[in-house]
Amino acid sequence: MADEPHILLVDDERDIRDPLAAYLSRNGMRVTKAENAAVARQVLSAYAIDLVLLDIMMPGEDGLSLASHVRATTKLPIILVTARTEETDRIVGLELGADDYVSKPFSPRELLARIKAVLRRVNETGGVVRAPDTDSYGFGPWVLKSGERELVDADGVAIPLSTGEYNLLHALVTHPRRVLSREQLLDLSQGRELAAFERSIDNHISRLRKKIEENPSDPKLIKTVWGGGYTLATDVRKL
């Protein structure tokens, strides 16, 4: 990867494309603009792109279709931009293999932070994009659904989790019966959302315990390991 990451910005709106390209350029990125999916395909074949920033709603071939094309032919990370805020869009986008998602109007600073986070993650994994998790994990009486980002009990009642709680629980259920230090938990759970982890891991653990433990003062699922961190003390079934 070059020093300046090369971003492909696909948006049919000039009013977004131009100022956003200018903003990203000012912040140390090389930006190539495309106003539709056809141009984007040409750019993709002609340049070494590091990340695709993609508007979902476009006339002609839409962003989702282009995203699945990119995912099928390359390993490039994708961040989707949408003017809608409906949950289903987010889920569809993430299931298609997008790495992150922002909705209009977004703070350009936040977008920049997310681009950097995704690029950093790609760097760390050696260019291999980790497809976002859409699996469901059963543990104890609970099921954690990654696609919908929610926790469901045995009766099918959904227990909403904050982003921080979800990320932490996701880190725990994907590493069952392993002792995870606070630092590891931070690394594992901070990936997608940045703002969520201003409060400490311990605080989130105690909130999670209140939601999932039968007796939060005598936890059976999330156990504290003295001097080590936390562990999910149960088997996890992938559903």
Binding site: I16, R84, K104, S107, E165, A195
Partner: protein
């Protein structure tokens, strides 16, 4: 009393039909019953009175005949000529007396007086009992059970009385069994047929009502299978067409709202990006704040336009945990919002709608009172979300007004406090979309409590 009456169409038809039929059949049956009884008595009593009159005639006609008694051999009647009646006056069976006089008139005999009763059972004599072999005794006794005695007494023209005991058969007590059975059978057949017809009308009507209730304004407009009588089928077809039209209109509205949302968000996004490079920086920050306010206004307007539209699926959800995640958002921004710890509170809700409603109410509390306390608890038939503050509250007469769209208590302060003017309206619409309510009340110790009441649904 009223509440015991059936309310459904089929129930009412059944009840009315059953009662009307019962009355009609009862009248019919009683007519048949009297007629049958009359005929049966005439058949039994007619010959007996005729025999009595014949004998009386014979006893009275021959003044030389010294006999004052006449025994019928086979029929076991016994007639006595006497100076007095064996029956006291006033005990007579008028129908039997009438029949006696009828027979006398037919025979050309004039009676000065007539008395008659149907007397009791007939006992077999000792001799007959002894002569009957034991295995046939039961049968014999049963035959006697079917017999009765008539005691007849008539005063002839010369003042003498003829008293007679005549054995006849008893009217068959089971005589009415067959007409009764026939009546009941008719009753059941007609009632069953009526119920069948009523059910044919009522069931499609019930389907229709169910579909109208299920209609949540989304594109899956409920279609009812047209069945039943033609009138009902027409109503169902009309309903289907109407719900399809309404669904299409609402879909059109949604597409329009989506387009408006998209078309407004894009320039807002453009402004938001440009605002980042505005100098001086405070000016840029102020622009960002304005843009964000416009965005939330747009979101609220779109959300309000879509409430009750059933865009979101109802799901069983722990409302306490849901509200807790909203509180967590405020805490993450360093705002003084406190969540009272409590147990689970489960209801079937549209999570995003309720999340938005709770967020609006907490935002209001923080804005007007500086801090908010949130509690979620189960009620008898659902869940209540309480958001309380220690602010100035709302004057009692304004409590209803503030829930109206864009209503502000103090117009002069509106720019300062900001907000879309839709927060409470949206919270109320969200509660009502779930069949619940938004309740605003000033607390006695000062401040306001906003309560979202949600029914449990079928959770």
């Amino acid at each position: 009393m009223r509440r015991f009456l059936p309310k459904s169409l089929i129930g009412q038809i059944a009840l009315v039909m059953a009662v009307a039929l019962l009355v009609a059949q009862a009248i019919n049956f009683s007519l048949i019953f009297t007629e049958r009884q009359r005929v049966s008595r005439a058949q039994i009593e007619g010959p007996a009175t005729s025999r009595f009159i014949m004998t009386a005639q014979r006893l009275a006609a021959d003044p030389d005949d010294e006999r004052t008694e006449w025994h019928e051999r086979r029929r076991r009647g016994r007639f006595v000529l006497s100076d007095a009646s064996v029956l006291p006056p006033g005990v007579s069976d008028p129908a039997l007396v009438a029949r006696l006089r009828e027979s006398a008139a037919a025979a050309g005999v004039t009676l000065r007086d007539a008395r008659a009763i149907s007397g009791g059972a007939v006992e077999p004599s000792e001799r007959l009992r002894e002569r009957t072999p034991p295995e046939r005794r039961d049968k014999m006794e049963r035959r006697f059970d079917r017999l009765q005695t008539l005691i007849l007494s008539a005063q002839l023209e010369d003042g003498r009385w003829v008293n007679g005991r005549v054995v006849t058969s008893r009217p068959n007590p089971w005589m009415m069994l067959r007409p009764l059975a026939a009546t009941l059978l008719t009753y059941l057949i007609i009632l069953g047929a009526m119920l069948l017809v009523a059910a044919r009308i009522a069931r499609p009507l019930r389907d229709l009502a169910g579909a109208a209730n299920r209609f949540r304004g989304n594109s899956e407009a409920p279609q009812v299978e047209p069945r039943g009588p033609a009138d009902v089928r027409h109503a169902i077809l009309a309903f289907n067409a109407m719900s399809a039209r309404v669904g299409a209109m609402l879909d059109e509205k949604d597409r329009m709202l989506g387009a408006i949302g998209h078309d407004l968000r894009t320039p807002l996004a453009s402004l938001r990006i440009r605002a980042e490079s505005v100098e001086p920086e405070e000016e840029g920050a102020r622009m960002v704040a304005t843009i964000e306010e416009m965005t939330s206004m747009l979101d609220d307007t779109l959300a309000l336009a879509r409430t009750g539209r059933g865009v979101e699926q109802l799901r069983a959800i722990d409302v306490a945990a849901l509200v807790d995640t909203v509180v967590e958002e405020f805490l993450a921004l360093g705002q003084p919002v406190e969540m009272k710890p409590g147990g689970r509170a489960i209801a079937r809700i549209q999570p995003n709608l309720i999340r938005r409603a709770a967020r609006n109410l907490i935002e209001n509390a923080v804005k007007y009172a500086g801090a908010a306390r949130v509690a979620v608890h189960e009620t008898d038939d659902g869940v209540a979300i309480d958001i309380s503050d220690n602010g100035p509250g709302i004057p009692e007469h304004e409590l209803a007004n503030v829930q109206e769209p864009f209503y502000r208590i103090e117009p002069s302060r509106s720019r300062e406090t900001g907000g879309s003017g839709l927060g409470l309206t949206l919270a109320r619409a969200a509660a009502q979309a779930h069949g619940g309510e938004l309740e605003l009340a000033n607390r006695t110790e000062g401040g306001l409590t906003a309560r979202i009441v949600l029914p449990r649904g079928d959770a």
